[in-house]
Amino acid sequence: MTGEAIVVAFRRRQRWAVLGLALVAAVTLGSAVVAQFDFLDGAAAFPKAFAWMAANFVPDARAWHNFPNILTRLGETVVVSIMATTVAALVSFLLALLGSRTTRFHPAASAVVRAVASLGRNIPVVAWAMIFLLAFGQTFLTGFLALFIESMGFLTRSYLETVDEASAAPVEALRAAGTPWAPLVAHAVVPSVLPALASWMLFMLETNIRSATLVGLLTGTGIGFLFDLYYKSLNYPSAALTTLAIVVAVLLLEGLSNVLRRSIL
């Protein structure tokens, strides 16, 4: 390749970058026009919104009176999230070991596991909540199932990739030594992937505690329900305290999971 050819190649790449940026800008502006969203109006709404929040969205004595109740409901949400995440992690772990190319259980198992993973993952958690709402009504079970299915889809997919990328070398060695399938997987694959699997599970737990609030709004359970109740009965100070409690809980759990993650890896 001559020097001239490199110059031409770079110029072409620059032209594509400019074109790409222009396209993104056009799509954004086009959507705003369609949605009748005025950027200036939107920006102007900010000071007013903050002023309103400063006046109304502050916990008062009555809100603090509700605090024990808020904590109970928050606890329920956290427990449901933990349950859904851990059960999903266990199921995903088994599915990933059955479906991975490294462990080679069966080609059909691999296809089924991959289908289950993409079905669980590509339907959003809120949609699952709505589906289960029709079947199970406004109960904890609905929230649990929605979070579980979503987590199982996501974790199965991540676990599959982790196990697929695990080294095939020890697997080859143990197979050559006549090791049956289950001990082979337990000794040649699991020790190498376990830290990554645990890390994915902690990530899922953090995500689920946030999603659980939203799911609670729909299913009428946990902290999401309480927020909805306060907000719709115009009890803004209590709604504010609820929000505050959620934020603190999420931050605490994230800190805890970071500590755990560091000690695992």
Binding site: S167, A169, P170, E172, A173, L174, R175, A176, A177, G178, T179, P180, W181, A182, P183, L184, A186, H187, A188, P191, S192
Partner: protein
């Protein structure tokens, strides 16, 4: 062992001399021939080096013996049993009698030396016992003995990712030995090692073959190493056996036959003209 000898070689009768017989073995990968009509007989206790250029089919030949690669045609008789007719369970049982040592060691990096060595016993256990890693006291004692023999007593509880290449390969050898194998297949065991570590590994393998009568089939690409350690050299070129005989008869002309025209650059200084 009971009061009576259990197998032929312990009794006074003529010993079973052929541990491994390969008849007309061929292997092709989607139409590309890797091995063509290879026949080879290995006696009990022999130290056989397989040499040849990269891609000549050395590794395929070795892996066909324990069916890590499925042969396309031919017959392989190991220890009196037909490898290719074995059922899944039968094959697993046959594989427990064949140790394997790899170029890249194939250890589990996050586990300790002792754990990796004991992996060699998993083929002898039920799935449940293996799953839970229930090793007997005598198996653990044996692992310790082997590690002492291989000079790794200080590393027993160390994680394998902290070892040097030479140490990792010694763990690989211990893992093969704890199987109490009749045959050890070594696939380029020193190709990733420095000359010093390579010598240690080769000396250990030679000692093992001499002391315990374990048969060794080893792939090597260094002609001089093969000539120095092996009882017998098998030269492979383009999937066919080109030479099969004593290292003493290995001369420049034969090496040229095995390696093709570029063999002038090879280390053949110690060999006869």
């Amino acid at each position: 062992m009971g009061p009576y000898p259990r197998d032929a070689e312990v009794s006074l009768g003529p010993p079973v001399s052929n541990l491994l017989e390969i008849h007309n073995l061929s292997k092709d990968y989607r139409g590309t021939a890797a091995l063509t009509d290879v026949s080879l007989t290995v006696k009990k206790g022999e130290f056989v080096a397989v040499i040849g250029r990269s891609g000549a089919g050395k590794s395929t030949l070795l892996r066909c013996i324990n069916r890590m690669v499925e042969p396309s045609s031919g017959r392989i008789v190991f220890d009196g049993q037909d490898m290719l007719l074995a059922t899944r369970r039968g094959l697993r049982s046959l594989r427990t009698r064949i140790g394997m040592v790899f170029q890249h060691y194939n250890l589990v990096p996050r586990l300790t030396v002792a754990e990796n060595v004991l992996h060699g016993r998993l083929g002898f256990k039920s799935s449940w016992a293996g799953l839970l890693g229930l090793y007997s006291v005598s198996e653990k004692r044996r692992a310790w003995e082997l590690l002492v023999q291989l000079g790794l007593e200080a590393q027993v509880h160390q994680r394998c990712d902290l070892l040097s290449g030479g140490q990792k390969q010694r763990v690989g050898i211990a893992r093969a030995l704890i199987q109490d194998p009749r045959l050890i297949l070594c696939d380029e065991p020193i190709a990733s090692l420095d000359p010093g570590s390579a010598k240690v590994i080769m000396d250990h393998l030679r000692r093992i073959a001499g002391e315990s009568g374990i048969t060794i089939v080893i792939n090597l690409h260094q002609v001089d190493v093969a000539a120095k350690y092996a009882d017998r050299i098998v030269g492979i070129r383009e999937g066919r056996i080109e030479y099969d005989g004593s290292p003493k008869k290995l001369n420049k002309k034969v090496v040229q036959q095995i390696y093709g025209s570029q063999s002038d650059d090879l280390l053949v200084g110690e060999l006869a003209e």
